[in-house]
Every structure is written in structure tokens, then in C-alpha cells.
Symmetry: C2
Amino acid sequence: MTDALTLVPQALTAEAFAPFGDVIEAASDSPEQINYGNTKKWADLALVDTADGDGHTAISMFEGLATRMPLRVEALERHPLGTQAFIPLHGEPFLLLVARAGDAPKHDEVHAFITNGQQGVNYHKGTWHHYLMAPVDGARFLIIDRAGPGGNCDFCTLDHALVIEPFVK
Amino acid sequence: MTDALTLVPQALTAEAFAPFGDVIEAASDSPEQINYGNTKKWADLALVDTADGDGHTAISMFEGLATRMPLRVEALERHPLGTQAFIPLHGEPFLLLVARAGDAPKHDEVHAFITNGQQGVNYHKGTWHHYLMAPVDGARFLIIDRAGPGGNCDFCTLDHALVIEPFVK
């Protein structure tokens, strides 16, 4: 592992994540009031873009095995035809690794984020990312992405491996 | 309340709910294995249909006040231009009242369901339904529905009021 470089996750915020996608959270202090005052609504929190190549929006469920730490990362993936949202159903912080859409990223263009347990994310079309990293065995996520014909998953290998050390949740 | 008729909720199943929409749940015993065996995937669990009238798919967050029981119901609503999905982020069973899309329903065409705490639902376009009934104060739901121009909420009044008694979760 002599070539592996340590990457330290930062707390996920909408501002820091903006180049890569949307943060899905009830962040605003002034949600709409609907249903005769019985419901607060935080509206339209993410751009869902799934129509390319006869695609449609799919709602799926993922269940993960806990990611082993420290995590060694040598490759990322992207979905060129559609956005992809992950919303945690488990309340645990989870780890994200992302790089901007475009050419395959260099190792120093990869960013690591840790969520606060309530936040979901929506990757822009083409955002490079690590596949789902579950915080605990059996953690479930709701996924909103594109289904349809055509190849919608590319992979890239990093020029240097990255290592994410265990972190305090 | 002499005219109110009691309606007893039944346990939510995909089969019983099929006339009204999809049940979003990890029901199959044979999910796909993805991400090198680290993730189980239950794919494409609901039909999302939001494009009518220049609409787009919106991901929103709702937070409810607990519904007071017994519940008296005199009206329902529908969204003629798009589907609407509710996925619980709280793990508590919640109540649903629905009637088939089409003309305003009679009171004996209204069905009540109770979820198992892990299930979400996706209403077909035009399915009549009661607005969100939260099981506890502060219960959050993820909503996937249509945003865009045009009137997308109709209301109807029932010919007889219905009453839902408190039920054992």
C-alpha cells in the first residue's frame, strides 16, 4: 500500500456537494405548510433526469453489507445516461466518494463526504462515484435512477489508490 | 356522526393494492446481487409517470403531525397529471385510504390499508386518496411525484362520512 494516499472525508453540505449533485434533506427552516396544516413540505429537492435513450425513472431498494474500513479505493463508476439518488432508510451516516463528471478523474480530484444520517444525495448525470458504501450490515437505501436500454455504467481506474481511514460518526 | 360508517383497514399487500398503485418494498426473496456482492437490489418497484403537461419528477420531503383517531373522512383528493409515491423514513405503520381512478367514489368504494412499517406506496395517476396520515408527530416521508405547470389536485366529497377506528399496530 505504499502508493495509497489518505483521503479524509468532510461533512456533507449542499454547497460543497453542488459540483457533484444535490443533497436531499429537510434543510430549510421555512417549509411549505400543506394538508390543512398537518404536513410540512420541503419541495423538489433534486433534479431527476432519466429520459435519455428511452429511459424512465425507476424506484428501487438497495440493501448493503457494511463497508470494511480502512477502505482502499482504486476505481470509480459513473452513469452517463441518468441521475441517481440514494436516500438512507436507516438513519446512519454513510460515506460518499465523488469526482466531477467529465474525463476520468485523477486521485487528487476525488472528494470524500460523510452524511449526517438524515441526508440523501442525487448524483448528477455522469458524476464519478464509488458504489454504495453501507454503514452497517443490512442498511437499506431507496434509489431513484434511470432504467432503460443502453449502457449506463462506465468505470475508471485511479492513477493512485486512495485510502479512507475509519472515522468517528 | 350518525351517518358515519366504520371502515376497517386491511394489511397492505401488493395484490390488494394493485388497482390503486404499487407497493414499494423489498418483497422478493431473490434480489439481484450487485457491487461485487456487497449490495442486494430490488429493482424498479414502481411506475413513475410525471411527464404530462411539461411535468418533471420531483423528490420532496414531508413531515407530518400524528393523525388523530378515530378519524372521520368526508373528502378525498387525486392528482390527475402524475403518480405520487410515499416512502416512510420512520419505520412506523401508517394508514392509507384509496379509491380507484375515475369518477368520484362512493363511500363503499373506499379502501383502507395499514402498512407494515417498511412498505411505501406509489399511487397511480388519478387514484383517489386521503392526504398523508402520519403515524406519529414528526414522521418523515420521501415523496416522488410530479412538479410542473397546471392544476394537479382535485377534491371530492363522499356521499357518506367514513370513520376509521384506532387499530393495533
